[in-house]
């Protein structure tokens, strides 16, 4: 073997090793998802045989239909669809409002700096890292005083409050790299405070909007603690309903229905990642490399 051939074969060896490792790990992480998916398409009879990893012999979507429309959660047996819409009604306004407020905060903190602005930003960052559990009691008191206890509106308020910190962080860092001369030019051109924001900054904020929306959507959709604490019963979000569904079954444990419900609960966040995932990475990298 010549020197070059030795080199080529050794690099080939490493490549095979790397890819094998990657595939093994990917399979390891995908295994639970795989089990969930195939379980949700089996019937109860087949589940009882206990072959967890085998593909369904009779593919059926009965479990999905039942999870959506007629599974029992607590005492009502109407499936999880109502709670799914609860979650949507909670997530969409929370994400939109917190993203918008974060953008305005980022704009003010970078382009309309005032005395003590660093402190304001530092406190907002601090807000990002306050553990949820600490605020449960004061928050419920405030919601009670506002008359929003146990409502979706109340949950939206909680999530917006918590979301502002991260949204501000994202937008502030993005706008810090945004040329201030553009803002000055717009000022001379006669654009107002909000005019500059709407016409100049926001249209150039695509990547960071995507990042913030994905981040907020995933966090708020997956939240369990606030949902369980502040929105009981009819207005509970999907995550709480899923928990109740799984824990409140009487008699036979319907794993296929549980898995189908869990898949439904996870689908929106998956969808958001698939649609906007590449912008997510692009947004995170924005500013790090000169474009």
């Amino acid at each position: 073997m010549t020197n070059q051939e030795v080199k080529a074969s050794s690099s080939r060896f490493w490549r095979v090793l790397i890819y094998t490792t990657l595939i093994v790990f990917a399979a390891f992480y995908l295994l639970p998802l795989f089990v969930m998916l195939i379980t949700s398409f089996k019937d109860l009879e087949e589940l009882r045989q206990g072959n967890m990893l085998s593909l369904p012999q009779n593919w059926t979507i009965a479990a999905w239909i039942k999870a959506w429309g007629s599974a029992c959660i607590g005492l009502t047996c109407e499936g999880i669809n109502g709670y799914f819409w609860n979650s949507i009604k909670m997530v969409v306004p929370s994400v939109l409002i917190s993203t918008l407020l974060g953008a305005i905060n980022g704009y003010v903190l970078t382009k309309w700096r005032f005395k003590g602005d660093r402190w304001v930003f530092a406190l907002m960052l601090f807000g990002c890292f306050i553990p949820f559990q600490i605020v449960l009691i004061p928050m419920s008191q405030i919601l009670g005083n506002l008359g929003l206890a146990g409502t979706t509106t109340g949950l939206v308020l909680v999530h917006v409050t918590y979301g502002i910190g991260f949204a501000t962080l994202f937008f502030r860092n993005y706008y810090a790299a945004f040329p201030t001369e553009l803002v000055k030019a717009a000022m001379i051109d006669g654009a107002s405070f909000l005019g500059i924001f709407w016409r100049i900054l926001l249209p150039s904020s695509g990547p960071i909007i995507v990042v913030t929306v994905i981040w907020q959507f995933t966090n708020i959709w997956n939240d369990f603690l606030f949902g369980a604490s502040f929105a009981a019963g009819e207005s509970a979000p999907m995550t709480v309903a899923l928990n109740n569904l799984v824990s409140s079954s009487t008699g036979v444990k319907e794993y296929n229905v549980d898995m189908a419900a869990a898949m439904i609960a996870a689908l929106p966040t998956l969808l958001v990642y698939i649609v906007a995932g590449r912008y997510f990475v692009r947004g995170l990298m924005a500013g790090s490399v000169k474009g």
């Binding site: 553009l182 001379i188 005019g195």
Partner: protein, 369 residues
Amino acid sequence: MASLEIRNVCKSYGSVDVLKSINIAINHGDFLVLVGPSGCGKSTLLSMIAGLDEITSGELVIDGEVVNDKHPSQRDIAMVFQSYALYPNMSVEKNIAFGLEMRGVPKAERDKKVESVSQMLQIGPLLKRKPAQLSGGQRQRVAMGRALVREPKIFLFDEPLSNLDAKLRVDMRTEIKKLHQRLGATIVYVTHDQIEAMTLATRIAIMKAGILQQLGTPQEVYDTPNNVFVASFMGSPSMNLIPATVVAHQNSVAARLTSPQGNELILPLPQPERYQTWIDKPVILGIRPEAITDMSSAEPNNPWVFPADCQVDVTEPTGADVYVLTTLGGKEIVARMRSNCGAVVGQKTPFAFNMAKAVLFDPQTENRI
């Protein structure tokens, strides 16, 4: 009538004084260039005229009206930024029309103005493009278009040419000058390039460390600099500054210089009454390279041209001329001679000093005497 007046304007950040009592007044149609080295406060002054920086004390007057507390958009000014500051999300057309739109000019009128400006700047074919799709020179034109379309009282330019390559810079310089002549607009222009300042300005303000050193026409600033800084900053190669002594000479006054060989060189000075009190005192003699020539290119009828033999140290041919370096008063000095003047390194050659163009500086204060 004064178009722009800057009265005792100061600027300080905390305890740091960035601008110290600046006084400048220019008329309608003047092209004022603020020039100086980095950190001299020229850009800060421009920002203050634009209203983007607050004025610590003093008054800023535009067309007879104090505008200190007016918002940038209400000062009737337009600015061209160094980075061009084109809105990246808008087409060229929208960029140019944005200022008009914000001022509530109807769409039809906007279109008409954009059309005429784009014709003037020859950017018609670019109107639908985004700034990212333009070259540096094209962006520059669009930035100027955005200012022109508003027809403001004063145009402000913040080092607009510094991001262009050398060739384009010269072209755009000529174009800005043409534009100024055609529109008769009042312009305030910041640059650190003294050639840009000389070629464009009707008035030059030279600044250093927050202090206005001199305000005058390009010729005034060039011929009679207020101090050593202005003398050496304006002109390339810069003015020769030679240590000398004022002496009485033949009922008049002259400057005495010493060559490295110990020879004395006596050069009579015009306006002797001006230097009477300086006899036997050290001074700095300032004389531009083009005022020291070979004998044949000296003005034959000028009584203030004096020849002197000096040793040639170095010759630097530029094609049209040759810069001949010699040493006088312990300083290297540059003379500008014809390329075929025959100066040979290491040999003596006659230098013709045009003393009518000479100026003297006080070596202590560095101010002109």
